[in-house]
Amino acid sequence: MTVKLFDAKGTPLSKQTFTWKELVQRPISKLDDDAFTRVRIVLMNGIEQQSNRFQHACAWMNGELRDHLAMVRRIEHHQQTLINWLLSPDHSPLETTIAYEQVAIEVTAAIAQQEPDPYLAQVYRYGLLEDFDHMYRYSALLDRVEGKDANNILQSYTDIIPGRPTVEEHRAPADDLVNHYDRVLASPISKFNALTLVAGEYQTRDYYMNIGPSFADPLARQLYAEIASIEEQHVTQYGSLLDPGETLLEKWLLLEANEVYNYYSCVESETNPRVKALWERFLDYELGHLNFVINLFKKYENRDPAEILPDRLPDPIAYQSQREFVRRTLQQEAGLRKDGTSFVGKEIESPVSQDYRRQMNSQGSPSEAVALDYKWRPGTELNKRAA
């Protein structure tokens, strides 16, 4: 299937309605559904959350667009509700965390490979190795605190091995910034990639900030505090990719187009027919939003949206195990560090970041403590003697 952005009008806003029963549907099965169905659900929750967040902030700064934003935002909110409520209640917060990190790894790896700009691809590979390490730390926590195997969630698609050690990921704020793409020169897919990843990281940050205090175990509370801090760094990192020279309407246009692109990617790969039908429905909804914003863009900016949007959508995000790419990146780039917006070798890492990290780790490191001598094995590390 190909989607032509300027031809497909999608569902008109007036027809995008919901009921409470529709919003709260039978959830997916934690045990039987494919892990990538959950990956898509988690990511699309983040994509919708980002739309909501942007549209609120946009309304704070633009009186003319307030009514239009309120109208679209309510629909986006209900889309997010329907999607997020597909997660079943037997997921513990820590199991959902494992799913969030699987999203971060598999989606970032796919995006890093489809990114045409070498610098942006480097940014993604850098973040990838950090989220990859979070998976290892949280898996150790799940094993050692809840007595559960993270692979029950991962279904063997995603490795549980150390990445760039979390204890070394803490950086000074200025070293989290990267160079933004150029709004004129960057290809549409580069803009979509950046928007997708900042959405994923932002929702992860918010999720950890919400559920962190619900843990009783002091080490779990510390680990969530530590990794939430890295996710905040990642939001800074990926957020700084967006060209600040884009107008509000240009950004809104891109966000809607990216939502179209993401739902299209979900439709193309979904294996659960019931969930696929939801992706198809929301693809049409987003085409409706895009069409609505295209008209606003023409009206208020007197510009041709074809300056910004591609005629056809790029190839969809590849929802599949990215094990080989991740391992190769790990082998080649785990030693990279930051100095301002540059990626540098360990030995010339920014001294400001080193000072910052020394301070943060001076009373212990939860991510080191939880995974001391941890090696994942099927059925948890207690399963050692089974063989």
């Binding site: 039987d32 939860p366 001391l372 001598d373 099927p378």
Partner: protein, 246 residues
Amino acid sequence: MEKTNKLGRNRTGIDMSPIHSKEMISGAETLTPPTQSDFPPLMVIEREYIEEGGTVGSVPVPGTMKGVLKSTMEKMTGHNPEVLLNKMGERLAFERSGVRLYEAFIIKCESINLPTPISLDILQQFRAEEEQHFHTIKNAMLSMGADPTAQTPDADVVAVASMGIQKVIQDPRTSLSQCLSALLTAELVDNAGWEILIKLAEGLGLEQITADFVKPLQEEEKHLQTIREWYEYAVMAEAGKKLTKH
């Protein structure tokens, strides 16, 4: 009716994706380097927080030191009647939540064909008894000048422990035997709770309160016995075996 044991495409184990699993296992084995860390280990961090102390909260001071509590406090130097107050608060909260547990379970049972001997009438009776037990405790607390609307520390903690029980029974996807297993957990704890409550009241010489608590314990024993039997029946029925009487 029962769907607990349906065979299907459960994807959680390594056998469901042999190629991926093989790579994952060998990767974890070869790519997890030995840990070199100077940071304090897990146990040290946990202990630090435990040693820092703190509690979930306190037993509320009775608003009016009256009746039996006043005389008890005067008589029982060296005893701690606040333990009884804390435990009464716990039982009150548990019984109140127990009413809601039974209500949720009854809704589920009404929507399926219940196999004999599981009976909606008996479930309604148990629900009513849980509510009566709540009132029995409430009246005992009032007679001591204690505030039955306060949440005592043990009431808080037992509610934390019960969170999973509620989730199992409330989840529309859970089966009869899964719910009965959760309910059995609740009834086991409830029985032990009433037993300790009676011992505490007896120890403080509270004759009337001790006497008032006997009937709830007897009824809870019946709940436990019944739920245990139903649970066994439901599981054995799934296995295609008849339950033999002990």
